[in-house]
């Protein structure tokens, strides 16, 4: 009973004293469990960018930021607990980095009026802002990813994919199943053959899937993997001597830790991306000076410049820019979640802005609008060089097939709207 009263007292104190003095950004991270390898660099990048803003600029618009980190372990139950325990503190935007938790939080955040940003993951049809008023997934979605991969293959194969065999190795969950419908539509359009190979959580056992690939000899293997599944898949591909340049992962399957364990055999493996990679950006000097050298780096501080670190930093940058936009719109530095939502909806990222932030050409330029929460959906391709142990961008950020994707988004979001009696906004 004593502990019960102690927690009750703590909860009461937490509820009674909402700190209005700073901008609260919760980070539902996962530094433990089978997905920690991807969760750690993302969380570090997210935290370090806000630390940098506090140290260098004194916060956003003069108001310091406060990061509330809560460990989810990629587990939906803990995600709910984290959401409930942080939302009372004035949380401005949620970024759960988990498609499962996203599905859970979409109705909850909408009911509570707190925006959620699921950058390159989550529910793709949330790009339709008319239905999903508080969910954003700019600058790109899984369906852009699927189409981007097919477009890249079209380029490689002279614009013709008739008879081309594609195998999709995917995490057997809401996340991994996302691209299937788009790929099936594109299959009708371009005439390639598609075979589906699900891998169950957590993905350490993939012998049978790769045996099937060895038998069917597909021309290209696409992968929607996360966590330990990526390393195992790349190792298995190397074991059956599948040509790595024909193996393309989604952006969650293309970080350093995914390929390093397979060593030289992983050379040439490709992954999609929606932002730039590497350390050649002026912002890293600032991070080194203000965050790392002062000992304020999150985690072990050894992830700076990794693909997922950059992504976490990019997510934080977009959140901070949206907060700035919100401050301008509403003329107050102390913004609320509702104002933050307006800021995200009016967000405009330009090349000048990114260059000013020390991140030139880091991602695409785009404008968010009330109707389109999904951004332009530009997809680039990166390739791993095992000798220098670096990822490099080998294509431009290219357009995807918005004709197919737009129709699918409209269909899925309208189904959601009618299931849940949602009235269309943005009129």
């Amino acid at each position: 009973m004593k502990t019960k009263f102690a927690t009750m007292a703590v909860a009461a104190v937490m509820a009674a004293a909402p700190a209005m003095a700073d901008l609260v950004f919760p980070s539902l991270s996962y530094r433990t469990g089978p997905y920690a390898a991807g969760g750690i660099p993302f969380a570090d990048g997210y935290a370090d960018y806000f630390t940098l803003l506090n140290e260098r600029d004194g916060g956003i618009g003069g108001v310091p930021t406060r990061l509330l980190e809560c460990e989810t372990g990629y587990n939906t139950e803990k995600g709910v607990e984290c959401y409930e325990s942080t939302k009372g503190e004035g949380a401005l935007v949620y970024q759960p980095l988990s498609t499962g938790i996203t599905y859970q939080l979409i109705p909850k955040t909408t009911a509570d009026g707190i925006p959620m940003h699921t950058m390159g993951y989550g529910r793709t049809s949330a790009a339709n802002g008319k239905v999903f008023s508080h969910t954003f997934n700019y600058p790109g979605t899984y369906w852009n990813g699927a189409s981007g991969a097919i477009n890249y293959l079209l380029d490689e194969n002279g614009g013709d994919l008739n008879g081309h065999k594609i195998a999709l190795v995917y995490h057997n969950s809401a996340y991994g199943k996302e691209p299937i419908r788009t790929l099936e539509e594109l299959q009708k359009k371009h005439g390639f053959e598609l075979s589906l190979l699900p891998v169950d959580h957590p993905g350490q056992e993939q012998k049978s899937q790769w045996l099937q690939i060895r038998r069917e000899k597909p021309d290209t293997v696409l992968m929607w993997g996360w966590g330990v599944m990526n390393q195992v898949a790349i190792q298995e591909a190397a074991n059956i001597r599948f040509p790595m340049e024909n193996f393309i992962g989604i952006w969650w399957s293309g970080a350093e830790h995914d390929v390093l364990s397979a060593g030289a055999k992983a050379n040439g493996y490709k992954a999609l991306t929606f932002h730039n990679v590497g350390r050649d950006f002026p912002i890293f000097e600032d991070i080194q000076k203000h965050v790392v050298d002062t000992g304020k780096a999150a985690g072990a501080g050894d992830q700076v410049g990794n693909v997922l670190y950059n992504r976490g930093m990019y997510a934080a940058m977009l959140a901070a820019e949206a907060a700035k936009t919100a401050q301008e719109i509403h003329g107050t530095a102390d913004i609320t979640p509702a104002m933050m939502r307006d800021g995200m909806e009016a967000l405009s990222i330009t090349e000048d802005k990114m260059a000013g932030l020390g991140m030139p050409n880091f991602g695409p330029s785009f404008d968010v609008s009330c109707e389109n929460h999904g951004g332009p959906g530009l997809v680039g391709v990166t390739q791993w060089d095992a000798d220098s142990q670096t990822w490099s961008l080998i294509s431009d950020f290219a357009e995807t097939d918005m004709e197919v994707i737009g129709a699918l988004i409209a269909e899925d979001s309208n189904a959601y709207a009618s299931e849940n009696n949602i009235e269309m906004s943005c009129n």
């Binding site: 909860a11 530094r31 750690i40 409930e84 325990s85 809401a174």
Partner: protein, 358 residues
């Protein structure tokens, strides 16, 4: 001094047969009910409901269900997660197919569906025992999760394979979906928990429970004195499945709202509920409550103390939590193999004599 029968006179058979024959127990029971029904709903907020009370109530139902099977009837089951999934998917299909029917009946019916599935997977228990039965129920766990992932009919052909609870109301108050009030979902679960606990308590005190315990203690002897093992084992599977199904349905519809079968109802869920009844006490309804409370509260308390009060990094607290929970389980099994319920029984014995132990 406490917990004494002295002065508590019973004048009828029904008074003699009541659930709590000792007055102080009875008073405590009514006080708990009053607090749970009349006081907590007015004080509850979202955090308390979603982080502590709802999981406690729902896991208590699951633990009671599993305790009937494992604790009272002695049939080891590792299929709890799969059976909870049956309850959740049955509830989802019923909710979306018959939206005009009240959610209350959907939850009861999902319990019924799960009871049926549970009996089916209980059939091997007539031929195999102990570890072998555990393996058979483990097969149920994996089969059911695979089934709900594989057959799109179960998730209404949605692109992601997720199931989402649409909004349903009881007396005009929403209890599922995003626009729920904390007190409404809490009371809805509480009603189910109280019904389940009363049924379970009375079943285990009566003929059915005695048959289960006879089978548990020695099945051959039970058969000789006239207990039909087929009926006893299958009713245990059925009743257990009913409760676990209800908990699965509530877990999906009220607590999480959106579920992915492999993640929410995996093997870890089976182990979690099994740990609850082992720590709480096998063959005790109170133990089911105590075990559920222990395993739901402990991580939250550790997190509050570690992250919010001491300010430690979240990953260190998360790792410490694994170490501490694991350590406590081992410690419990060594120091008190009969669980928290036995501690409570011993405490009661001491309280009867206190302050004059001789």
């Amino acid at each position: 001094m406490f917990y004494r029968e002295a002065g508590d006179f019973k004048t009828t058979y029904s008074a003699d047969n009541q659930t709590f024959p000792i007055k102080i127990d009875r008073v405590g029971y009514y006080v708990a009910l009053v607090v749970a029904f009349l006081i907590i709903p007015f004080m509850i907020n979202d955090y308390w409901a979603n982080a502590i009370l709802m999981p406690f109530l729902i896991y208590s139902i699951a633990a009671i269900g599993l305790n009937i099977l494992v604790g009272y009837c002695g049939q080891v089951s590792l299929g709890t997660g799969g059976f909870m999934a049956v309850g959740a998917y049955a509830c989802y299909k019923l909710m979306t197919s018959f939206p005009e029917v009240n959610i209350f009946f959907h939850v009861l019916l999902s319990g019924g569906v799960t009871a049926f599935v549970c009996i089916l997977f209980g059939l091997p228990s007539l031929r195999i025992k102990g570890f072998y039965l555990a393996v058979a129920t483990l097969a149920a766990q994996f089969f059911l999760v695979w089934l709900f992932n594989r057959v799109p009919w179960f998730y209404n052909y949605s692109a992601s394979g997720q199931i989402n609870a649409p909004e349903r109301t009881v007396f005009g108050v929403p209890v599922t979906g995003p626009n729920t009030e904390a007190w409404a979902t809490y009371l809805f679960c509480l009603v189910f928990l109280v019904i389940c606990a009363v049924i379970a308590r009375n079943l285990t005190r009566g003929m059915a429970g005695r048959k289960w315990m006879a089978i548990r203690d020695m099945d051959i002897a039970a058969e000789i004195i006239g207990v039909n093992p087929l009926k006893a084992k299958l009713t245990a599977f059925g009743v257990s499945g009913f409760f676990i199904g209800i908990s699965g349905a509530l877990f999906f519809a009220l607590y999480l709202g959106a579920v992915e079968v492999g993640e929410a109802f995996g093997i870890t869920k089976s182990f979690l509920v099994l740990f609850m009844i082992i720590i709480g006490g096998l063959g005790s309804i109170f133990g089911s409550f105590a075990g559920a409370a222990f395993l739901v509260l402990l991580p939250v308390v550790l997190k509050v103390v570690g992250v919010d009060m001491l300010g430690w990094p979240t990953d260190i607290v998360a790792h410490l939590q694994l170490v501490i929970v694991g350590g406590l389980i081992v410690l419990f099994l060594i120091l008190e193999p009969h669980g928290l319920a036995q501690l409570w029984r011993v405490a009661k014995q001491k309280l009867r004599l206190w302050p004059f132990p001789h």
